[in-house]
């Protein structure tokens, strides 16, 4: 009996130490990950600010990072214009993960632009989502009810999918919509985070 109790205490102690250690490491990791200079540069370029000499400093001047317990990863909220939010969002494409950076304006309900951080789509087809011509469609795209990949654009929020890459276009649509949805949740009813 005595031995059992002692073993129990030992296991409890071990588990506690490991858990606390992991929580601390994860906290540091997430904080460092959000402070990735490459990501900062892409976010600045997306909203049309020059990264300048010191990316970190410029980033801190332009954005504040807001976290939300429900969605891991940060939301970059504009300092001068808090309605402007940039969100890194990922989803599955045809062959693998697609990670996008989505800038959204909550006041105008428009997408300000998207950037493709990573993808492994078919070269020449799905991979064309990287091209400026595709990404440019999102600049100022009104999206009160989200965006939609379409063959012929005639409604608000619709963009030209890449021909021959329906699945990739749909994936981009889903990721952008997920980003917008999360940005709206974080903003709450007040309109700004």
């Amino acid at each position: 009996m005595n031995q059992t109790v002692r073993d129990l205490w030992f296991m409890l102690l071990m588990t506690t130490i490991c858990t606390v250690l992991l929580v601390v490491v994860d906290g540091i990791y997430l904080a460092r990950l959000a402070a990735d200079p490459a990501l900062m540069r892409r976010a600045l370029q997306l909203v049309g600010s020059a990264p300048g000499e010191d990316v970190r400093r410029t980033f801190d001047q332009v954005f504040t990072t807001v976290t939300h317990q429900e969605f891991p990863g940060g939301f970059f909220v504009g300092k001068q214009n808090p309605a402007m939010v940039v969100r890194q969002e990922e989803g599955s494409g045809l062959w693998g993960k697609i990670t996008l950076l989505v800038a959204y304006d909550l006041a105008q309900n428009t997408v300000l632009g998207i950037d493709v951080l990573e993808h492994s789509e078919t070269p020449g087809l799905g991979a064309r989502i990287e091209e400026e011509k595709f990404r440019a469609q999102f600049r100022g795209l009104a999206a009160r009810h989200g965006v939609r990949a379409a063959k012929i654009k005639f409604k608000e929020g619709e963009f030209d999918g890449v021909s021959g890459a329906t699945l990739t276009s749909k994936a981009v649509e889903e990721i952008v919509n997920a980003a917008i949805r999360k940005i709206r949740v974080v903003a709450g009813p007040g309109g700004t985070p």
Binding site: D7, M11, M14, L21, V25
Partner: protein
Amino acid sequence: MSITNTQGWKVFAEGLWKNNPIFIMVLGICSSLAVTTFVKNAFVMYLGVAFATVFTSTIVAAIRKRIPATYRMLVFMMITSTLVIVFDRLLKLTLPAVSKEMGPYVGLIITNCIVMGRSEAFAMSNTPWLSALDGLGTSTGYGLVLLAIAVLREVLGMGTLLGFPVMPEAYARCGLLISAPGAFLCLTVLLFLANAIRDSMSGGKK
């Protein structure tokens, strides 16, 4: 007294050749096949396994008298997984590109039999210092075989070494070596060589 005569050195050197985890114990085969397409990845894998083995062995040896015999495997797993997650996070922050290439194999160090094997076979009955040396020796033995396979595969399969071209322009790359079966071939050839050397060293006696 030379360094090669100390007990610590003997414990360390045992894992390099006499008890090499891949050649003799035939442990860690899965990862030695999976991450050896590039020398760089193999080296990072070696670092990860060394980190996990050395620290797991040391911690286990330090608390070996308190570990309940019934749950000892559980305790090993807990320590190893904590350490491996820490290493994985470190790698993701410092070398994100390598981390992506290695895919799930860093996390799979947790289930690498070498780590648990050393805790069970050595650290449970030895002092922390010796256990650390044993862990280092065993993981270095593993790492050297990993690097040997990786050099073979990268040079003959891709014509590069650490990303720099080393073979002449006209060299036709051996695509087979880059594919998964090629790893088996390399490992088999190395295993054969190691056994042949071992036999000739022991003078033919069984």
